[in-house]
């Protein structure tokens, strides 16, 4: 299945790229993450338990590897997620283009889906995939904004200026997590089916 979309960040490309590349992780920063470890360069392994509203506890394990990095333009994300109700694996290709003072991120993911996700969830995969990706990326965007406005805290802070300040390590790690989870959360709803 193909997920193709775009998203605009109010931050320059280098900031976005670096933010997504930084390897420090705070596993406890994201609700539902039991474990998310960096295992070798550009390789994340984790265990997550996802809840959507009153429906709780779909556990899945995930391995994400980053490849073909071209700063600040593009990289590939190899994803392998397995849950009790199915699996998802595939490759997401991410491209960053300058747009105004910000960054237009285009991503295209070609995913193989199997198990219960595939056999009863077909009609949801597309729309949920897009909706959750967008949600996740908006969270990423907010974090970027937070990182860039040193005094800003919490959601909703607007980006003040196109500062090229490097983000704090924990911010960058969290961004990557959001992106990883954004794509995977796209399928969480149907993993729960």
């Amino acid at each position: 299945m193909l997920i193709e979309s775009e998203f605009t960040f109010d931050a320059p490309r280098e900031v976005v790229f670096d933010g997504l590349m930084d390897p420090k992780i705070l596993a406890g920063a994201l609700p539902g993450t039991d474990r998310l470890d960096l295992n070798g360069e550009d390789r994340y392994e984790g265990e997550m338990e996802a809840s959507v509203g009153p429906v709780t506890a779909a556990r899945f394990s995930v391995v994400v590897e980053l490849k073909e990095k071209v700063r600040p333009e593009s990289f590939d994300m190899h994803v392998d997620g397995k849950g009790k109700a199915g699996f998802v694996n595939g490759i997401a290709h991410v491209e960053l283009e300058e747009k105004g003072g910000g960054t237009l991120m285009k991503y295209r993911a070609d995913l193989q889906v199997g198990g219960r996700v595939a056999s009863v969830g077909q009609r949801l995969l597309d729309s949920v995939g897009k909706a959750m990706s967008k949600q996740g990326l908006e969270a990423v965007s907010r974090s970027l904004a937070e990182g860039m406005a040193p005094a800003a805290q919490g959601a909703g802070a607007e980006v003040a200026a196109a500062s090229r300040a490097a983000l704090p390590a924990q911010r960058r790690a969290r961004l990557r997590l959001y992106l990883v989870v954004a794509i995977l959360l796209a399928l969480v709803l149907v993993l729960l089916l």
Binding site: K84, Q112, G114, S119, V120, Q122
Partner: protein
């Protein structure tokens, strides 16, 4: 008034309400209507445990390990097993249907296993089983089983599977080719050379799931103290299951009882035998010393129950200028899924049924059966006949078009005539015997059908009117022959009890086709009682232990004739005994109303009294006599009998939306002598509905990775009451000379020609130059695409 008569009798031509040819109300209905009827999931035993299976999410992979520890620790869980726990019990299932004796045949056998051990080869293949206090807990724990599986590339497409670099599903075979078979008659090359016209086409015919409303299920109970294993199973073949389980478990057959109670529809896959669940549940019960139940849920059924799928055909027909068939050549690929325990039944049926009611002097039919990473393929109502009928009927339609001959006329010209029977087609059928048609009158059925649907008046009448209004209506007429009633044999036992009750027991099971009534009619006819007076037991190996099962439209033919033979034997005993009791010659006696009467006088004795006399508690009997009024008889036909039929349809299609509406549907059917017309019609209605489903609504959609994408009724569409039209039926009876009753089978008939009929009628309705339908199923989407492409590109080839 007989207290067992539940309904007022209906009059028939002979005045006897429930004889052969009448339609008495069904004996089984009360229990079904009141909810009393026992289905497998209704079985409840004290201390019963529940099983849930862990199934592969991957279509192809190496199984590295299974970790049951978390599952075993879950509350309520009593046991969990993977392949290594089965020890010596683990073995692949038997080859159910060996290949027939055809020269040059290549066949590679691969059978399913109880739990995957080294590899998984299709999505849904069982890997482990968890047993717990409730199904809910068993499923909770099943989710905790850790499966370490290394995915391999999966193959879904038939042609791709045969490519040299395709993933190999069974490593000990050099490719995914499961079988290669050629059957020949006459000399095709010569026929082709001298033909006036040769027409070649490629066809794709896909089928689907059987989807009975009741899923599969097994309850197994090993009672160590009485040394009896009882298994309730949604099987169409209780006796072979009993025999197989006894052998596998090392038990004498007498200690194993398999009961097929009321079954909620079979349609074929419930005669696939030695499914993993059937083989495991009894073993688990013996190990745990407790009853265990497994009931399939609907989503599971799309993987765990066998299904029928597609064939890709390349076919040629050679005709003379009159449209007479000189020969046919057909090469095809057929999908068997990950294993092929059912042998070559489906493609052999395709090869044989292609010939239809036609004279085909030269024939070359060649198929390759292909392994794919999908669930196992075994017969579903029609069992490969649909594919053959589609090819032949479409080729005839093309020939009719090219030669400017009417579609009905070209069929009539090629029909075998009644004086050409028995007609030997020389190729081998699924019962391992040469395909010999025993009887039939194809032209009469055709005439009747075209008359009922007013074929002659359609083009200039209804169709012309519709066209003038901008509507697209079309008509189709197709015909087929179906080999039914194949051996090996079935048996039955009839007993008259003191008190007058009559029992009939037979080894076959029943899945809704009315055996409790139609078989009772056969006995009622011989013994002079009502069908309601005959208590029928089917599908319980403790009551009758010899036979094979319900499949291939053989119940009425084979089991029915056994019931008849047993009743005839009991009748003879009744007459002999009554003759001495009433002191009258046997020729002067008649059986009616539960009595034996001396014609002319008033003297009579009831069957119940006779039965009591036949089993005295004191006194002497003549040496060599058997006690009671009971007889067991078997019937094994020398070969199958050929039923046939013609279907005709008028439909309307909207070329802009591709929505289709069936306006009329006519079936003229020949199943020989009809035992119960109401039941026969019901079978035809159900078959046609299934055929409509396969033509326009149902399709199992697998992606390239052999993942099934529509494993639920939300997305796998079964036709509803608004999709199935009223079906008008008529019968022709050409009694078969191959069995005493003259009956032929009818269970699958309704489903067989529907795809070919849809294609023909749609082409007629759309009337787009060069537009051809060469695939099944269609759907509104697919039909829309085909219409759009035809309109854009003009004539296609």
């Amino acid at each position: 008034m007989n207290p067992h008569t539940a309904a007022p009798p209906e009059a028939t031509a002979t005045g006897r309400p429930s004889r052969i040819g009448a339609s008495p109300r069904r004996n089984e209905d009360r229990r079904l209507l009141t909810g009393e009827a026992l289905f497998v999931d209704d079985v409840h035993l004290d201390g019963m445990l529940h099983a849930a299976f862990v199934r592969s999410d991957y279509a192809h992979g190496i199984l590295k390990g299974v970790d049951l520890s978390a599952a075993l620790g879950h509350p309520g869980v009593v046991a969990a097993y993977a392949a290594h726990d089965l020890g010596e019990y683990w073995e692949p299932g038997p080859l159910l249907v060996p290949p027939p004796p055809i020269d040059g045949l290549e066949f590679r056998s691969a059978r399913q296993v109880p739990l995957a051990r080294d590899k998984v080869r299709h999505v849904g293949e069982p890997i482990a089983v968890v047993v717990a206090r409730s199904r809910y807990e068993a499923e909770d724990a099943a989710a905790l089983v850790e499966v370490d599986l290394e995915p391999l590339g999966a193959v879904s497409d038939l042609e791709r599977a045969l490519e040299p670099d395709a993933p190999r599903i069974h490593e000990h075979f050099e490719s995914n080719l499961a079988a290669h078979v050629v059957q020949r008659k006459g000399d095709w090359e010569q026929a082709r050379a001298r033909a006036h016209r040769v027409i070649k086409r490629q066809f794709l015919y896909d089928r689907g799931a059987s989807a009975p409303m009741e899923n599969r299920g097994v309850v197994a109970n090993w009672d160590a103290r009485s040394r009896e294993l009882t298994v309730w199973d949604t099987t169409q073949a209780p006796i072979p299951i009993r025999n197989g389980l006894a052998a596998m478990l090392g038990l004498p057959q007498s200690e194993v009882r398999v009961i097929a109670p009321f079954i909620g529809g079979g349609f074929g896959p419930k005669i696939m035998m030695f499914y993993p669940e059937e083989v495991l549940l009894p073993w688990i019960s013996m190990r745990l010393g407790r009853p265990v139940k497994w009931i399939e849920d609907r989503q599971e059924s799309f993987f765990a129950t066998t299904q029928e799928r597609g064939q890709l055909h390349e076919a040629e027909i050679a005709v003379d200028e009159e449209g007479r068939v000189l020969g046919v050549r057909d090469d095809f690929l057929c999908d068997t899924g990950a294993y092929n325990p059912y042998g070559l039944t489906i493609p052999i049926n395709t090869q044989c049924t292609l010939l239809g009611p036609y004279r085909v002097p030269n024939y070359h039919s060649e198929f390759r059966m292909v392994f794919t990473n999908k669930p196992i393929v075994t017969p579903v109502r029609g069992a490969g006949r649909q594919h053959g009928v589609f090819v032949m009927e479409r080729l005839l339609d093309r020939a009719a078009d090219e030669l400017g001959i009417d579609r009905v006329e070209i069929r009539r010209r090629n029909y075998l005539t009644p004086d050409e029977f028995p007609h030997n087609h020389e190729i081998i059928y699924q019962d391992f015997a040469p395909l010999i048609y025993d009887s039939g009158n194809y032209a009469e059925a055709l005439d009747r059908a075209v008359e009922m649907i007013d074929y002659a008046g359609f083009a200039s009448g209804e169709q012309a009117t519709a066209r003038a209004e901008g509507r697209h209506v079309g008509i189709g007429v197709v015909s087929y022959v179906e080999g039914t009633g194949v051996g090996p044999y079935e048996g039955a036992r009839v007993t008259i009890e003191p008190g007058g009750r009559i029992n009939l027991v037979t080894g076959v099971g029943t899945q809704g086709q009315g055996h409790f009534t139609s078989f009772a009619q056969l006995v009622a006819e011989e013994l002079g009682v009502e069908a309601a007076d005959v208590e029928v037991v089917t599908g319980d190996t403790a009551r009758f232990g010899w036979g094979t099962g319900t499949f291939a439209s053989r119940g009425a033919v084979v089991a029915g004739n056994a019931c008849h033979a047993a009743a005839v034997a009991v009748r003879r005993k009744v007459l002999a005994l009554a003759s001495s009791v009433l002191k009258a010659a046997e020729e002067d006696l008649e059986l009616a109303d539960g009595l034996v009467r001396v014609v002319g006088t008033g003297a009579s004795v009831s069957l119940g009294d006779l039965a009591a006399r036949a089993n005295p508690l004191r006194g002497a009997v003549t040496p060599g006599t058997e006690p009671g009024l009971e007889a067991t008889a078997y019937f094994g036909p020398e070969r199958g009998v050929t039923a046939s039929g013609v279907h005709a349809m008028i439909l309307e299609v909207d070329p802009d939306t591709a929505q289709v509406r069936i306006l009329r549907y006519v079936v003229v059917h020949d199943c020989g002598r009809v035992i119960n017309p109401m039941i026969v019609e019901g079978q035809i209605h159900g078959g046609v509905a299934h055929g409509i489903g396969n033509s326009f609504y149902e399709q199992l959609v697998f992606d390239e990775g052999a993942q099934l994408q529509n494993a639920s009724f939300m997305d796998y569409l079964i036709p509803t009451a608004t999709d199935v039209p009223r079906i008008e039926t008529a019968h022709i009876e050409t009694p078969s000379p191959l069995n005493p009753l003259g009956v032929k089978g009818v269970g699958e008939a309704g489903a067989i020609p529907v795809g070919a009929l849809f294609a023909q009628a749609l082409e007629d309705a759309l009337d787009i130059d060069g537009f051809e339908i060469r695939e099944m199923p269609l759907s509104p989407n697919r039909l829309f695409e085909l219409i759009r492409d035809a309109r854009k590109e003009g004539p296609s080839c």
